[in-house]
Structure formats: C-alpha cells, structure tokens
C-alpha cells in the first residue's frame, strides 16, 4: 500500500510541476490571442481592451491558480478563439492520435520483434548484418521524409491509397482504414528501426545465458529456446523501451499529422500555438503529459506481470 501511495504522490507532483511549466512556457510566447482575434487591422487600444475583457492582463499567478482549479474539476476551459470547450475540441482529436500512435506502436513491435530476433540469431551471418543495416538506415530517415516518400509511391504513383486526410471510424470504417495505412506505416517503420536495436541486443544477451545453452543442449531448436525462455527475459528491458517509445511516438505523431493532414492532437497543438490560443495549448499539452505518465505507470505494472520477482514486495 505504501508503495502505491508513494507512486501516486510522485504522479501528482509530476503533474503539478508539469502544469506550472506548461503554463509558464505558454504564457512566455510573444504575441497574443487578442491580436489574432481582432485581426491585423486592430488598434492597440482595442487589443488592450480585449485583453482586459479576456482577463489576460491579470497577474500570471492568479491566472495559473484559476486554471489549475478548473483543471482539477475536469474543466479545461474554453478556447479563446472559437469559444468551444477545450475538451470538446480535444475529444475527436484524441481518437485520431490514439489510433495513429496505438496502431503505429503495434506495427513497430510486429516488425521489430521478429526482425530483432532474427538479427540476434544470425548476428554473425549476412541476414543479421542486413537487418541491422536496415535498422540503421531507418533510424537516420526523418519521419516526414519517409511519409512523403510513401505518399509519392502508394498514393500519387500507384493510386492505391489516399494521399492524406482522415475519415472517422464511425463514418466509414473502410475509408478510415485506408486513410490510416500510410501514416501508421510511417510511424511504425521509424519506431521499429529504433526498437529493433534494443530487441536485438536484448536477445543477444539471452543467447549468452546458461538457461539458453541448457535448452539448446537438450535438443531444442534455437528459435524454440528463444521463444520459450528468451522472450520473457528480454521483455523486461523491452517494456521499458516501448514505454519510452510511446512518448517519442506522441511527439513524432505531431510531424506525421502535418504530413498527412490528420486532425489529431498534434495539429490542434500546432494551430493553437500559432494562434496563441493558450487555453487550448495548455489543455493539449497537459493531456499529453498525462498520457505519458499513465503509460509509465502501465510500464511499472507491466514489470510485475512479466517478472514474478517484482511481486515480492507485496503490492
């Protein structure tokens, strides 16, 4: 119980610290929404008046505490620009980013796990080198470039898939899928290239372990021995890496959403920053921070599931 309480306390403190940081950074941006709202022809006095009306001229600390109190009540505020509730703006976009990142991570694991295992097993022969080299290449390719390349080949050249855009799952599942294939593939390939290295080294370590040699000596094939004994052992370090990768995938999604004009959280954030709609910026970043923290917590739980030794402390 004490461990859970301690973890929760750290969780809450991290969120609080993040909220202060987000608020400070967002408010340090030059330019403001009053100017955007009134347009380029606004007089300075009209801008000052609107700033007053929106409460933007009050002390930073007061605005922060008010915002924090609202967030604690689950109220992320309303967009200064459109007047829509921030939660209403985020809801449809969370779904887009969730599918992109979720399917992208799943895809990257599906690619990296078998490829990494093969690279470990054949590490002194050409298939091993080839896979590692492909991974290196993948890591050095920027996500947006890969995205453009895939669009050029599969949308413009072959015409198999739409170049960009999004259709919600509920509106048309087939269209939803066809619009997601290229962005998900982009994210999955870039992430897989990173993951591949960790998978390979985790399994290379397993190959040196006594239990693996024992399994081999009683006549198991290398693949069976790896699958039976290696996966669980390698998984402990891999879960950490995958957990960290979810955070980088969320950041990577911002770029990919731009390339494929997906209406996700990333594009909401970019637009809001450009228009200085700080309430939306704060809400979106806060949500992303929360998502990362929840993933980290899930990783912690994951350890105890994978490794019985972690359960010793009586949760």
């Amino acid at each position: 119980m004490r461990r859970v309480a301690a973890k929760l306390a750290v969780f809450a403190l991290t969120l609080l610290g993040a909220s202060a940081l987000i608020f400070l950074v967002a408010n340090a941006l030059p330019g403001d929404v009053a100017q955007v709202l009134l347009g380029t022809d606004a007089t300075p006095s009209a801008v000052a008046e609107l700033r007053h009306e929106l409460g933007l001229d009050r002390p930073l600390a007061v605005r922060y505490l008010e915002w924090l109190a609202d967030v604690l009540h689950g109220d992320f505020g309303t967009s200064l620009l459109s007047g829509d509730r921030v939660t209403d703006l985020m809801a449809p976009r969370i779904a887009v980013t969730f599918w992109l990142v979720g399917l992208g991570m799943l895809g990257s694991i599906l690619v990296a796990l078998p490829a990494g295992m093969a690279a470990a097993l054949k590490r002194r022969r050409w298939p091993g080198f080839a896979i590692s080299a492909a991974g290196q290449l993948g890591m050095s390719v920027p996500a947006f470039w890969l995205g453009i390349l895939l669009v050029m080949v599969f949308a413009v050249g072959l015409g198999w898939l739409p170049a960009n855009g999004y259709v919600p799952l509920g509106a048309n599942p087939g269209q939803w899928l066809s619009h997601l294939v290229l962005p998900v593939a982009t994210l999955a390939l870039v992430q897989a290239a990173v993951l591949l290295r960790y998978v390979r080294s985790a399994f290379v370590e397993v190959l040196d372990e006594d239990y693996y040699r024992t399994a081999r000596s009683i006549g198991w094939t290398p693949f069976r021995a790896l699958l039976r004994h290696g996966v669980r052992n390698a998984a402990v370090s891999l879960v950490t890496v995958v957990g960290l990768q979810v955070s980088t995938a969320l950041v990577g999604a911002i770029v990919i959403e731009q390339v494929f004009t997906l209406p996700g959280l990333g594009s909401l954030l970019l637009t809001a920053v450009a228009q200085r709609d700080l309430v939306v910026v704060q809400g979106t970043v806060m949500f992303l921070v929360l998502a990362v923290l929840v993933v980290n917590a899930a990783v912690d739980v994951g350890y105890t599931l994978i490794d019985p030794r972690q359960r010793g402390g009586r949760v």
């Binding site: 347009g39 801008v47 669009v151 390339v259």
Partner: protein, 516 residues
C-alpha cells in the same frame, strides 16, 4: 499575410444611372453544368467538389474576424451582396437589379430583385437590407475595417418593399465597392430569432449553406434547396485545409482534390503539366508583395536612400528566383485589375552603380545597417535573403530576423519596431493605406493623403485620374519597394470548368464552377 485595409481609393467602374447594362456582361456563368461531379472523399460518385485551400477559418463569422479565409468560403457562395465584383474587377448586380446615384453622389437608391430570398424562405426585401445596415452600425465589436467602411453611411431607409435609399455623409465611390464584399453580405434578419449561431452556421441568400465545419479539416457547404437564382451545380462543396503545401499538391496528384484554390509553391507547377489530367489557370490577385520601409527611420526618411535601395534590387531576377517567374512586376500599390493601373515597374530600374552614388550623396558612403524583420512566410523569407545579398553589394548591411507571424503582427505591424520588412497585402484597392501616417510604413506624405481623399470624393473619371496620379506619386517617392504582385495559380482537374482565373475579390466564387 492577409492585411486588411484602412481606407480604400475610389474605384472606377462606370456605374452611371443604372446597372442594368452590366447585367448582360456579368451573367457569363459557365454554361451547361452537368451531372458528373468530382469524387467525394467517401469515394462515391456524387455531384461533389473538393477544393484545397491553405488557411482554415477560425469561425464562420466575418464581421468580428478579419481573416480572409472566411469570405473566401462565404462571399457570393453563402451570403450575397447588393452588388458583386466579377473577375475583371467590374461591379455587377446581384441582390440589387439596378441602382441610381444622386447628382451629388451621396445618395444611392437600390432596386432589389423581387425573386431574392434567404435560405429560410424569407424575402430579401428593403426591410431586410435596412436591418442589415442598422445591425452593423449598432455593433460595437465590428472589425475596424468594417467600421471604417461603414463610417460614411449616414442612414438607410426602405422607400417601399423593393427600394432602399442609402445616404452617405460624403461622396465615396469606394463605399459601393466595399458593399460588394464582406460589408455588404446580407444576413437573414430572422437568424437570431431562428436560433442560428452565425459563427458556426449560416443564414444567407446564396446558392450554398454552411453544412459543417470540421475543425482542423474542412468546411462543407451544401446546396441550398430553395435558392432563388441558378441552382448550385454541386450537392456538396468541401474546402479542405492544408497547412503543408506539399500535402495539398500530393492530394491533387493522387486525385483526392478537384481544385487547388491557389498553388502555394510555384515550383510545383511542373507537377501538373499533364493537360489530360489537369488544367492550370494563371491569373492575377490583389496581393502586392511589399517590401515595407519604416519612413520614421532616419536613413529611410531620405528619398535618396529609398531610391538607392529600390535600384539596388534586381526585382525581375528576384521574382524568377523566389516565385518561379510567376506573378506581375509592379512599381506601385496597384495591380493590373485596378482601373488606375499603369506599368510603373521601370520608375527606378535596376542600377547598382547609381544606387551606390545615391547612398554616397545621402551620407552613407561608409555603409548603412538596417534591421530586416520578416515574417516566416515562404515568399517573405526567400525574398529577404535575395534582397539582403543584393543590398550587400551596394554597402547596405540588412540583418535578417525571421519572426513567427503571430509575433510579427504586434512587433512590426502594430508597434513599427523594424527598419525593413516584407509582406503581401492581399486586400483589393488598398492604396489608401499609405495615407495613414500611423500605419506601419509611417509614410504619411500630406500631398498623397490629400490626393487620395480628393480621388475618393470625385466623380468616376476624375477619380480614376487622380488615383492614377496618387499611385504614380507613391512610385516616384519610393514610399515602399514593390517586389511583385502574387499570381493566382489555380489547378483543377481537367473535368472542372468555370473557375475564375483572376482573384479579383476575397471570394472563391463557386457560382460559375461546373464539372463535366
């Protein structure tokens, strides 16, 4: 980059006693709208059109937000005006069949088309027009641009159900021109009582209604079933927004779009050279790419320095480099569709040696340092680099600082904290901005301001001539440096016809567009 104007010059369209004549010349809609529409996003063959555009509007309310992306969708398509400007810059009838102007040019009598009605079925009668003008006059939160345009209106009265009399406080031919744009958009007076939220929905009299605004994605217009004029040719028109021009080009190449409303990267033109698939329209816009000079700066307040800077830049080479040679080379704040346009490009031709002499005369033989603060917009940044390298050759050190647009607005546009900058002024007939000493150029030459005012208040022929002189004065005086006028580069599928080549108004006018 959409800068709105303060005051606009008089304009020259001959609106003598009746606009009826114009009716015949303006009715040139694309003939024979057929039933084969573009591919919709969902892939079904519908009578749909998908238009790619750049800037997404924040709302559907142009009365409280100056963003040009709002009238791009709404003007003429959703909301109609008493008079309309066609793609040659000519004023034509729309809701008003004809109009009369009093001898002292302060009284306009509009004869409304009795057929006109709003989407709700209510007639666009004299009472509705008066209600619209009164509504804007009473609105304290109206944008500054609209307030200024409305300031000349003294009163509006309904003479009978079909005739409206508008009295102005002084003659202003620009007012009628303004009425063809956002200022003149007629809203159903019953909208509020019908529970219509004008920032999200529409209550106009046009062939389309606002169906849906998918934040971050698109605005969807639907055919108005009750339209009083020639019915819309598409069941649905979607404006899809692309932050990234490459994504828009890719969508067009992949066949997901029917039209690119204005190509943002002229280098990409060659991608659409296959005429069996695409049609490329090269027209003009109202966008002058202005290299603004802060006339409050001590060096820049000297005519010799402004002349030297103008002559130090090879603007032809600049347009070739920066904008793929597309656009029009101009020498003043006027574009070819303006009635008072004359070619002033060669007022101060490229001559670096002469530029050096002029700088020496002005006392800057040892060099001159200027802060070149430009917004992060492709044409601005690329032009700035080109200009800076040429200025270096004549001994002027232009320090480029790139500012995000939302920072550029308060610092450069509002506070005038800069020496030189570059931005496109996309509003139509925006010469009058130079009359305002407080505007960010801080030009405020009293001779120009006086000339401009006289032009606006004069009758047509005199007005145009005076405005031509005003534009010439700006060029001679190097009030700014006009790099080039942005082209209107429209790409359509070969099956799409009737898209206007010139961007003479803020509207992306769908009323003439059809699909074979």
């Amino acid at each position: 980059m959409g800068l709105s104007n303060w005051r606009r010059p008089i304009q020259s369209i001959a609106l003598v006693l009746a606009g009826v004549l114009a009716l015949t010349s303006c009715a040139g809609a694309a003939g024979g709208g057929s039933t084969q529409g573009g591919q919709s996003q969902s892939g079904q063959a519908q009578h749909d059109l998908v238009v790619g555009a750049t800037l997404e509007p924040a709302s559907m309310d142009p009365w409280h937000n100056t963003a040009a992306s709002i009238p791009q969708v709404l003007l003429y398509n959703v909301y109609e005006t008493l008079v309309k400007v066609d793609q040659d810059g000519k004023i034509c009838p729309l809701l008003a069949r004809e109009w009369e102007i009093s001898a002292d040019r302060t009284e306009y009598t509009f004869h409304l088309n009795p057929a006109a009605k709003f989407a709700s079925g209510a007639p666009v009668d004299a009472a509705a027009v008066v209600a619209n003008i009164d509504r804007l006059k009473a609105d304290a939160k109206l944008t500054e641009t609209l307030k200024l345009q409305l300031a000349v209106v003294d009163s509006a009265t309904a003479l009978d159900s079909q005739r409206v009399l508008v009295k102005l406080t002084r003659p202003s031919m620009m007012w009628l021109y303004d009425m063809s744009s956002t200022l003149g958009m007629m809203v159903d007076p019953a909208a509020a009582s019908n529970g219509v939220d004008l920032s999200k929905q529409s209550a106009g009299s046009g062939p389309y209604t606002v169906s849906k605004h998918n934040q971050g994605v698109s605005v969807v217009l639907a055919k108005s079933a009750t339209y009083w004029g020639t019915p819309a040719r598409f069941d649905e028109v979607t404006f899809r927004y692309f932050g990234d021009p490459n994504a828009m080009n890719a969508a067009m190449l992949a066949g997901d779009l029917d039209v690119i409303s204005n190509l943002q990267a002229p280098d990409a033109l060659s991608q659409f050279s296959d005429t069996s698939r695409f049609t490329t329209l090269k027209g003009t816009t109202n966008g002058e790419v202005v290299m603004g000079l802060n006339n409050d700066n001590e060096a820049l307040s000297k005519l010799e320095v402004r002349q030297a800077l103008t002559m130090a830049i090879d603007r032809k080479a600049l347009m070739d480099t920066v904008w793929n040679g597309q656009g029009t080379l101009i020498g003043s704040m006027a574009v070819p569709t303006d009635p008072w346009y004359e070619d002033l490009f060669n007022t101060y031709p490229y001559d670096p040696a002469k530029a050096k002499d002029l700088l020496k005369q002005a006392g800057y033989a040892k060099g001159l340092k200027l802060r070149f603060r430009v917004p992060v917009i492709p044409y601005a940044v690329n032009s700035a680099k080109f200009v800076a390298s040429q200025l270096r050759d004549v001994g002027v050190d232009a320090e480029i600082e790139e500012l995000e647009f939302s920072r550029w607005i308060p610092e450069v546009l509002t506070n005038g904290d800069y020496d030189m900058t570059i931005v496109a002024h996309v509003e139509a007939r925006d010469l009058g901005k130079f009359a305002d000493k407080n505007y960010y150029w801080h030009y405020g030459n009293p001779t120009f301001a006086k000339l401009y005012q006289e032009a606006d208040e004069a009758d047509q022929a005199t007005g145009v001539e005076l405005m031509r002189q005003a534009a010439k004065l700006l060029a001679d005086d190097c009030a700014a440096i006009w790099l080039f006028a942005l082209p209107n580069l429209v790409i359509t599928k070969a099956s799409v016809v009737g898209v206007p080549a010139n961007q003479a108004t803020l509207s992306f006018d769908l009323t003439t567009v059809a699909s074979r």
